[in-house]
């Protein structure tokens, strides 16, 4: 063979080998664009875990039709049911959530079937939420397929729901007064409890804020840590760990995190609540049912939310204040509900409390903030 032909052949073969290697064993970065399967096209469903990984890759790519087609029990439900299970009915956090990662824990395995727990970490616009499913894997021929544990979520039947709620409207000065320079006094709000706490990750400041006024208020709380030398150490806000819209006489908990700070260096905490008059209504009414505090490992408040109104609540945020025997705030926790609250349809919630504080909790109070698309 001539040198030229040899070179051409070498280049072609080397290119082929490199492409083959890159496709069979892609780098983690390259694989991340195809659902994260580092097995590349060698990927098979030869084990129950591999079947879960395969499903995970499809879900990461939002290839729901392909994911559905690979399920062992797909005859039991339609692809639309499968999509509704993952994306929810109506606009919710699930609608545009992306699957970030999945933890797989095998529970049991035989030659023909296996049970695994799939903990899916989804990423949504307001933060992450987890969805844990126990899946049953079955061996079909020489590969494994999953029985998807479908959670049925049925659309609400047509009906008329009478509502009777309080509502406050505000008449503004005019078009020029469009962004906050209001000509009315700000609603009176007051911090009724404030309590700093030293944690491993830093300082947290938590408490409760009361709207003392007879009009609704849009509130926020900012805390500034001042050192013994009088210097400002850090300043943070309550962000989403507060219920911003307060009706008259309503109380919201708040918690403010100061990561990486040391409580012993702080002499003063300056609290700055802000309030603005806003239009508001008591609708939608979200009832909290079966609320109970579960002690022990994984201590949390659990219960159910039921939307009593006729609107679908697209996103809801549960905030729970945990109190000790003296009625002092021990912790403030929150959880976003990943599914929309359909009218009259209960949805579970669970707000955990840190294990080291769980023993101090004697009572708790839960409030719910709601977001309805187009009502902001």
């Amino acid at each position: 063979m001539s040198q030229g032909k040899l070179l051409a052949t070498a280049l072609a073969v080397t290119t082929g080998l490199l492409v083959t290697a890159g496709t069979l064993w892609p780098s983690a970065v390259a694989a991340s664009y195809s659902g994260g399967k580092t097995e590349g096209i060698l990927s098979s469903t030869s084990t129950p875990e591999a079947a879960v990984n395969d499903l995970t890759a499809q879900l990461k790519l939002h290839a729901l039709a392909k994911a559905y087609s690979g399920l062992a029990n797909k005859a039991e439900f339609s692809e639309a049911d499968f999509e509704r299970d993952l994306l929810g009915i109506g606009l919710s956090l699930r609608t545009y959530a992306t699957l970030d990662s999945v933890e797989v824990r095998p529970l049991h395995q035989s030659n023909t079937d296996a049970d695994l727990t799939m903990k899916m970490h989804w990423s949504s616009v307001v933060g992450n939420f987890d969805d844990t499913r126990d899946v049953h894997a079955v061996k079909v021929g020489n590969h494994w397929a999953l029985n998807w544990p479908l959670k049925h979520e049925s659309p609400v039947p047509p009906q008329v729901i009478p509502v009777n709620y309080l509502r406050w409207d505000v008449i503004y000065r005019g078009a020029g007064d469009d962004w906050g320079s209001q000509d009315v006094e700000a609603p009176h709000v007051r911090i009724v409890d404030m309590h700093p706490l030293s944690r491993a990750e830093g300082v947290v400041v938590m408490g409760e804020l009361l709207n003392e006024d007879v009009v609704p208020a849009f509130v926020s709380v900012k805390a500034t840590l001042v050192t013994k030398a009088g210097e400002t150490l850090d300043s943070e806000g309550s962000f989403d760990m507060i219920s911003h819209t307060l009706l008259p006489k309503q109380v919201t908990p708040f918690i403010i995190h100061f990561p990486g700070t040391d409580l012993s260096k702080i002499s003063t905490i300056r609290m700055e609540p802000t309030s603005v008059l806003v239009a508001a209504s008591a609708d939608p009414v979200v009832e909290i049912e079966n609320q109970q505090y579960q002690e022990g490992s994984g201590a949390a408040v659990t219960g159910q939310l039921t939307n009593q109104s006729g609107h679908t609540v697209n996103v809801s945020h549960v905030l729970t204040t945990f109190y000790d025997a003296n009625g002092q705030v021990v912790w403030v926790g929150g959880q976003y509900i990943d599914r929309a609250l359909q009218p009259q349809t209960p949805v579970d919630f669970r707000v955990p409390v840190p294990q080291d504080l769980a023993g101090k909790v004697k009572s708790e109070r839960t409030v719910v903030s709601t977001y309805i698309q187009g009502n902001s």
């Binding site: 001539s2 040198q3 030229g4 032909k5 070179l7 051409a8 280049l11 072609a12 290119t15 490199l18 492409v19 290697a21 890159g22 496709t23 064993w25 892609p26 780098s27 970065v29 390259a30 694989a31 991340s32 664009y33 195809s34 399967k37 590349g40 096209i41 956090l93 545009y96 992306t98 970030d100 990423s123 949504s124 616009v125 307001v126 933060g127 992450n128 469009d178 962004w179 906050g180 849009f218 926020s220 900012k222 300043s235 943070e236 806000g237 962000f239 989403d240 507060i242 911003h244 700055e272 802000t274 603005v276 806003v278 697209n314 996103v315 945020h317 903030s369 977001y371 698309q373 902001s376």
Partner: protein, 566 residues
């Protein structure tokens, strides 16, 4: 003339304005136009230094904008880049193949998809200006290495420095990939020539070292503020995802975007390029250079780029490697076309011309089929809103504005904490998570949204009071995080959210702020060198014996396997 006929109408239609990065370059140019000697730009990232990006194309856009306006000035600079490419490809190809084949290569450069993709879809002005300047420098570099001509040395020197002032990535990676085949060619030609014209290995090494040292020193001086910034504030931020790093077989969409479109019909010619490039001994260095660049351009499709580039793999984008690979193979392609036309006449010419036109058309049209986010958004109403009633006393961010972020920044007096220059940003909320511009947070999933949440959490710190939203996806976050919708624009397709209690924005006293001296260097040396380059290349060149031979030497009957042709 073909380049004028093909690209001038497209540029006069201002087609690149729809691309991803064009507005970014125009934004930089608009700052230079107003603050020539002050590269500190307060409009993005609460203030950032434009010395983080080599300035030449933007500075020329700024200069021309005083007469033509920014958009047309950009198109003019881009057009000059396209014309320089044709000239550069011809001169570069003429080192390797016959003038006729070089002419075909130059003609092909008008139609190559990689150029169309970068100009009209990606909007990479700096890449598409720097590479042609390098190509024009290479023949002078060859003459210097081969014959020791000081006039060539001078021309190569000023052009290399000018190209470096246009784009840093092309300087660091592209220049090496272009120069190595030239060095190999000079060595081969020098070794195999007659005694009087031989170049000894030590002489060649001395010439290489001398041009590297002199040009390197000049580049260090011209881009001094850039290097100072890079050394003091190295890019340590979390890598941002880019689909050009994907495996194109496992991610077919990325494969289409970063392989099929940028190469077009050239994919069909690849076997012929490899065969002809390997069969002619003199073309082998070029073939190997093309092959290495081609493999790097495949991103994560092969293990080569991740292994060779290490951490840089997670920072670089690889469409420009495909562009360079295309340029490197053009001389061989020209030779292949010559042979095909000689052998098959019209039967070859018609399909080749048709495929070239189709390749160019697809690349140009790609920005229509795969438009950048918000490419049709008009930001005039938003700019007017920000400029009135003291709204510009505060900082703002946009959500869902895509590449119109830069356009808005040009039109408003208000400053933002967001921006499109990933290497320039220093705010920890932007660098720690792996998201790119906040306005496109959702496309970066968890990293992007984490970054957005961190920024919203620290709104007070930066005087960030207004969020302008074109994508209701973000509404729940703003609602729960304590922002209120206070206004809407354009039939409520754009909503404006505000946060109460935010203090007015104060100028950031950033350590990255360039000194006055750095601003002086930045404002004089890059453009100064480009002017010098224009003058120096006009110096008449001493006639040197051509290295190439006629077409006949390359025809099939003259090819001897493994033998030297030229």
């Amino acid at each position: 003339m073909v380049a004028v006929a093909v690209h001038l109408p497209l540029l006069l239609m201002q087609l690149p304005l729809k691309s991803y990065d064009t507005n970014f370059h125009i934004f930089f140019a608009s700052h230079y136009a107003q603050h020539w000697f002050d590269p500190w730009n307060p409009k993005w990232f609460a203030g950032f230094s434009q010395t983080t990006y080599p300035p030449l194309p933007q500075q020329w856009t700024a200069i021309l904008s005083w007469v033509l306006g920014l958009n047309l000035a950009y198109m003019t600079v881009q057009f000059v880049g396209i014309l320089l490419l044709v000239v550069g490809v011809y001169r570069f190809a003429a080192l390797w193949v016959s003038p006729r084949a070089a002419s075909y290569a130059a003609l092909a450069s008008v139609f190559i998809a990689a150029e169309g993709f970068l100009v009209y879809s990606a909007g990479q002005l700096s890449t598409t200006v720097a590479a042609p300047i390098y190509l024009n420098a290479l023949p002078f570099l060859f003459q210097w290495l081969r014959h020791g001509s000081w006039r060539s040395f001078l021309k190569a020197f000023v052009l290399l420095v000018t190209a470096a002032a246009a784009h840093h990535v092309t300087l660091i990676f592209g220049s090496v990939l272009f120069a190595l085949p030239i060095i190999a060619l000079a060595w081969m030609d020098g070794r195999d020539s007659e005694d009087s014209d031989k170049v000894s290995a030590p002489a060649l090494v001395v010439r290489i070292v001398s041009i590297v040292v002199v040009a390197g020193a000049a580049i260090a001086a011209v881009l001094l503020p850039f290097w100072i910034g890079l050394i003091r504030y190295p890019v340590t931020q979390t890598p941002i995802a880019h689909a050009s790093r994907a495996n194109f077989l496992l991610s077919p969409e990325a494969g289409i975007n970063y392989f099929v479109v940028p190469y077009g019909a050239l994919i069909l010619a690849l076997p012929f390029i490899v065969i002809r490039g390997s069969s002619i001994r003199r073309l082998r260095p070029l073939l190997l250079g093309f092959w290495a660049t081609f493999l790097l351009g495949l991103g994560g499709t092969t293990p080569l780029a991740p292994v060779l580039l290490g951490r840089s793999f997670n920072v670089l984008t690889f469409e420009r490697f495909s562009y360079w690979a295309t340029l490197l193979c053009l001389p061989i392609l020209g030779q292949v076309i010559v042979e095909a036309v000689d052998r098959f006449r019209l039967k070859a010419l018609i399909p080749i011309a048709s495929l070239a036109a189709a390749t160019c058309a697809l690349a140009v049209a790609w920005s229509t089929y795969k438009p950048a986010d918000a490419s049709n958004l008009n930001v005039d109403s938003v700019a007017l809103w920000l400029n009135r009633d003291g709204h510009d006393h505060y900082r703002y961010i946009t959500l869902g504005f895509g590449n119109k972020l830069s356009r808005l920044a040009m039109q408003t007096n208000a400053n933002s904490v967001d921006g499109e220059s990933n290497s320039a940003r220093m705010l920890p909320e932007l660098t720690q998570f792996g998201g790119a511009a906040l306005t496109s947070s959702k496309y970066f999933a968890k990293p992007g949204l984490d970054s957005l949440r961190a920024m919203l959490n620290h709104a007070d710190r930066y005087g960030l009071k207004f969020i302008i939203v074109r994508d209701p996806y973000y509404d729940p976050l703003l609602y729960f995080a304590g922002w209120r919708q206070v206004d809407s624009l354009d039939d409520k397709t754009i909503t404006i959210w505000s946060k109460d209690g935010v203090p007015p924005a104060l100028p950031m006293n950033a350590a990255e702020m360039p000194t006055h001296f750095q601003g002086l260097i930045w404002g004089t040396l890059p453009v100064g060198f480009s002017l010098l380059a224009m003058l120096v290349v006009l110096l008449p060149e001493k006639r040197l014996r051509p290295e190439h031979v006629t077409d006949a030497a390359y025809t099939r009957e003259h090819l001897v396997s493994g033998g030297m042709v030229s």
